[in-house]
């Protein structure tokens, strides 16, 4: 049975990474107004929110299952405190998990309503380093990190994430340079 926990740990980790990148891409396309005319912005925002929640759910499953797998030798403190005894390969994943919690929870409607928009936005930007750290975690501690399809997939995910980030940064810089017309 422990082997099945092990397979599930790896599978949920990979799916969580893909979902995190997808949520990031959706959010960046939405915030940069690059969503096109075919689908309403409402659709993009709703799916972005949903993917964020789904990412956190899969991260939760990944953490719980890795704890249940006795072969990993991970203790509860290893999954909560970064670099407690398990080293930074696992520690980056713990940091990324807390970052995702910090991003997703304040975005829930009930909490977000009470937050100033600027504060929420600053916290929401943590999602970008969170995705980066999750990739580092996958590469350092992933059992499949030496397999070619896994490394290629990671590279593809990073590329997918970099593209909208670039679009967003270009949009921001153009917005700042735009002359004031009165």
């Amino acid at each position: 049975m422990t082997s099945w926990w092990w397979y599930l740990t790896r599978a949920t980790g990979i799916v969580a990474a893909v979902l995190a990148v997808a949520s990031l891409v959706w959010g960046l396309f939405f915030s940069s107004r690059s969503t096109g005319n075919r689908l309403k912005p409402n659709w993009w925002l709703a799916l972005h929110n949903y993917l964020g929640g789904l990412t956190l759910a899969f991260i939760g499953i990944h953490v719980v299952v890795s704890f249940l797998d006795s072969d990993t030798g991970l203790r509860l403190i290893d999954l909560v405190v970064p670099n407690s005894t398990a080293g930074w390969a696992i520690g980056w994943g713990v940091v990324a998990t807390w970052m995702f919690v910090l991003v997703v929870v304040p975005s829930m409607a009930r909490i977000r309503r009470r937050l100033p928009r600027k504060a929420w936005h600053v916290v929401h930007l943590i999602s970008i380093p969170a995705v980066v750290l999750s990739m580092v975690h996958a590469f350092q501690s992933g059992s499949d990190a030496t397999v070619s399809w896994f490394t290629r997939g990671l590279a593809l995910l990073v590329g997918l994430a970099v593209y909208p980030v670039t679009i967003r940064l270009i949009g921001l810089s153009q917005g700042r340079r735009r002359p004031v017309t009165a």
Partner: protein, 291 residues
């Protein structure tokens, strides 16, 4: 041509004057908000439909057959219900459920959400099955490639023994260890470990046996070779393939068995440390170094 000069002075009142008609309308709206009325007061000659018009549209049409049709009355009533629901939601009160607003919220991208969930679950199941399939495949003999490699596992030894060959040094002094088969020559510096290969004790854990041998050259630990490791199943093989090279390189760089535990390979790491420490102790003992 106007001869106006651009002035940097701000006007005394930056807000534009409100149109009297707009101001009147705003006042009327404020009055309605205070009274809680959802609709403007009826114009003279028109009758406001009685509530609930949706439940009894015939009655409202009967009350004003000439001015407000049944369709209009229904629309007005629906608008009133929506406004009341919006006010209640804004004030944090319970949601007003009416025929026009049954309490359901809009759910954009519902199909896409269901698709994303289904795809995620299916991918997880598929990957899990794939990993299981990989492990149930044929188990080839796996060769560790970290550091250097010991492809042939010797018979397990329970105690650390030095098995190095005699090495002639400039000093020429010869030391014979307690082991009768081991003869090493003392190097010029007596505090350095003699060149040779030293086998560590086999350390057992719940997943198998780990045994290493330390290779010394020039008084330095230059290599750690794995003689035995848990390879009963593909999972153990994969874990040890990943962890042992790290442990080997770390031991060489630290020149000791004091290495960090590799995450996910705790048992192997501990056994590796124990076996390497015994090999180093054997090397020190053979070299006449105390401690």
């Amino acid at each position: 041509m106007s001869n106006q000069k651009p002035s940097n002075q701000k006007p005394a009142n930056p807000r534009p004057p409100i149109d009297p008609l707009v101001a009147k309308r705003l006042q009327a709206m404020n009055a309605r908000n205070r009274t809680g009325s959802a609709l403007p007061p009826p114009k003279p000659g028109t009758a406001r439909p009685s509530a609930p018009a949706a439940a009894a549209p015939a009655a409202s049409t009967a009350a004003a057959p000439t001015s407000v049709s049944a369709e209009q009355a229904a629309k007005l009533e629906a608008a009133a219900a929506r406004a009341a629901a919006a006010r209640a939601a804004k004030q944090g009160g319970p949601t007003v459920r009416t025929a026009a607003n049954p309490g359901r919220r809009a759910k954009p991208a519902r199909a896409s959400k269901v698709g994303a969930l289904a795809l995620s679950v299916a991918t997880t199941a598929g990957l899990t099955a794939m990993f299981a399939g990989q492990d149930t495949g044929t188990t080839d003999s796996v060769v560790l490639t970290g550091g250097t490699l010991a492809t042939v596992a010797p018979t397990a030894t329970t105690a650390a023994t030095a098995t190095s060959e005699a090495v002639t040094t400039t000093a020429g002094d010869t030391l014979t260890s307690a082991e009768p088969t081991t003869t090493v020559t003392v190097a010029a510096a007596p505090a350095t470990i003699l060149d040779g290969t030293y086998v560590g004790a086999a350390d057992s854990n719940r997943w198998g046996v780990v045994q290493v041998q330390a290779v010394y050259s020039g008084g330095q630990l230059v290599d750690v070779q794995i003689l035995q490791y848990p390879d009963g199943d593909n999972k153990s093989v994969r874990i040890n393939q990943r962890s042992l090279p790290t442990l080997i390189s770390e031991a060489i760089s630290n020149q000791s068995a004091d290495v960090n535990t590799v995450s996910g390979a705790t048992y192997t790491s501990n056994s590796y440390k124990a076996s390497l420490q015994s090999a180093i102790d054997a090397a020190k003992a053979a070299s006449g170094i105390a401690g």
